[in-house]
Amino acid sequence: MNEPAAADRPLHPVALLLTFLRRAPEFVLGIPALAYFVADAGMEVVVLLAAAGLALSMCFAWLTWSRFRYGAGEEEFVIESGVLSRNRRAIPYERVQDVSITRPLLARLFGVAVIAIETGSGDKNEGLLDCVGLAEAERLRDLIRRRKSGMRQGEIAAERETEAEPALFAMGGGRLLLAGLFNFSLVFLAVLGAIAQNFGGWLPFDAMDLVDRIDGVRPVTAFNPYDYVAERGMEWARLFPIFWIVASVGGLLLVGMITGIVRSFVRDYGFLLTRTEAGLRRQRGLFTRTDVVIPLRRVQAAIFSTGPTRLLFGWKELALQSLGDDGKEGSNHVVIPLGRPTECAALLEQIALVLPPEPAGFVRPSPRFAVRRAFAYSVVVIAVFVGSIAAIGPIWLGLLALGPAIALAWLQWRHHGHLLADGELFVRHGVWRQRCSVMACAKVQSLTIRRGPIQRVLGLATLIVATAGASTLSPVAVIDLDARRARELRDALLDRAHGSWL
């Protein structure tokens, strides 16, 4: 058709600077190791060696950079690379699945971006341009998308004029703050604890030592708050235990909230979801800006999730499950980190899905679901009991532990259910973090009925509904239906899907 596309554009020169900034710390950190090996020589020699190493490494980086060219042809995108052995990679536009723009903090400072062109083959770096100018990145993305949808030069310009990219969902500061509060997390504490555990010896001070110092010379091994306040004549501090508890709990809550808010801001700052002609475009991030397009054709299912507090205030998180690379495990893209049901419904309309109905309308699994779970949990409890509690406690203590096990089984039964509507299957599960998957019957790839030995005794069956994007570890499953009903549900799903296969 046309002459082969010319790869005539180099990467942005800032790429070299970024490489330098990335590599320099490695060489600085390498200095102590180097010093160990050339112990006789002075420090100047060591630093000189490290600098020479860095210079050499940068020479190679420059060679690689100078031999890297890309170009967008009429039919395909071309990347030529390689210093000695040249490699010419051609990516036909029809095969492009996604063009994402990532802007890490450093790249943002210099006004550049990393472009990744994905085609769905296993190799993640198949079309990586690290890095190009921001304007160039956006030009390339638009160009690839439009070539992909078969438009020509004139139409591209026309489309560019009319395009407004209406915002489907955006997150302002208030919403972000709220999301952060719901994101309450004590991970930070765990991390601190782990650090103290592993590096406690390296800290410039000892925690106990610190208390010691505050308290003067008195040893604090038997630190007693009563004595502490009594000595200081703080009689009001008879309430000390209560104050102590309130303060610690409050402190924990505060730490958890701050952690949650910081995490939300870092990840979701400037969250913006817009509609493009092929899919949904999501931009987010405080330091690293990511810009991802989720092609609508590849969306397999929608997943709602709420935590207990979120549920209380009527908030939901919505993620879309999209097809992974060539049948491999797909990925979940959060499209609404925190939204009202109406906002979720408006978004779902774009992908021809609907909101899940009220939980009351769902079909619960057979009550024997709870029997089977309770049995399984009880076995664990008894095993633990025999292993440990029996040595220290009476038998009734172990029996008491069976209570929560049975309660958990019952709760899980209450919160599991499915509902088959005209074109969609809804499956909900989870007690604490409640989730509901929504999938179009047309997206079903295969249906499996599974019956273990205990299930057979109880006359139960689990129906596993495979879609293309689901994780291998947790496919959508309707657990422990009455065996007959599982078959009926499977046949009903087959019927719904009939005629909608492609």
Binding site: G324, G327, V444, G452, A466, T472, R490, L494, W501
Partner: protein, 165 residues
């Protein structure tokens, strides 16, 4: 059991080719020989290192293996069945955990006919359906007579061609 019976409007499940029983028996025998050999080796090592008389262990393994060779292939064979529905292939198997998978023809990406050395010797083949799913994306139906496998592959391919047109 009552719920094992198929619904009256469904076609009857088809058994596999009886020669597949031989395939299963040979496979079980190979596993048994390997296992018994390993047990004998382990017994020798333990006997050399300690003063224990370990002669009984490999004999016990051999006996259990023998029972497995006699009993298991028939049972496993009987558990395999398939139904050619209008628009889908249904495959059931599993001795302890019963698994029953339905693959709509319209979802099949490509089809393999696989024949290992034992299968070739016994004149059977395995039909392998690949879907885009990530759970159970490969559905295998072993123990088909070669011509039956070819016929089914042809039928499914025909179906896909009709639908994509």
């Amino acid at each position: 059991m009552n719920d094992e019976a198929p619904a009256p409007d469904q076609p009857m499940p088809m058994p596999l080719d009886p020669r597949y029983r031989t395939v299963l028996r040979i496979r079980t025998a190979i596993a048994a020989i390997v296992l018994t050999g390993a047990a004998a080796l382990g017994a020798l090592v333990v006997a050399a290192a300690t003063e224990w008389d370990t002669g009984a262990a490999p004999i016990a393994v051999a006996l259990v293996s023998l029972i497995a060779i006699i009993v298991l292939p028939g049972r496993r064979y009987r558990r395999w069945s398939y139904v050619e529905r209008d628009e889908a292939l249904q495959v059931a198997h599993g001795l302890l955990v019963r698994v029953e998978t339905v693959v709509p023809f319209g979802r099949v990406q490509h089809i393999d006919i696989a024949r290992g050395p034992i299968e070739r010797a016994c004149g059977v083949a395995t039909l392998v359906l690949h879907t885009a799913g990530s759970h159970n994306s490969v559905v295998r139906l072993p123990g088909l007579a070669v011509d039956a496998a070819e016929r089914m592959r042809g039928g499914i391919r025909e179906h896909i061609r009709r639908e994509t047109q």
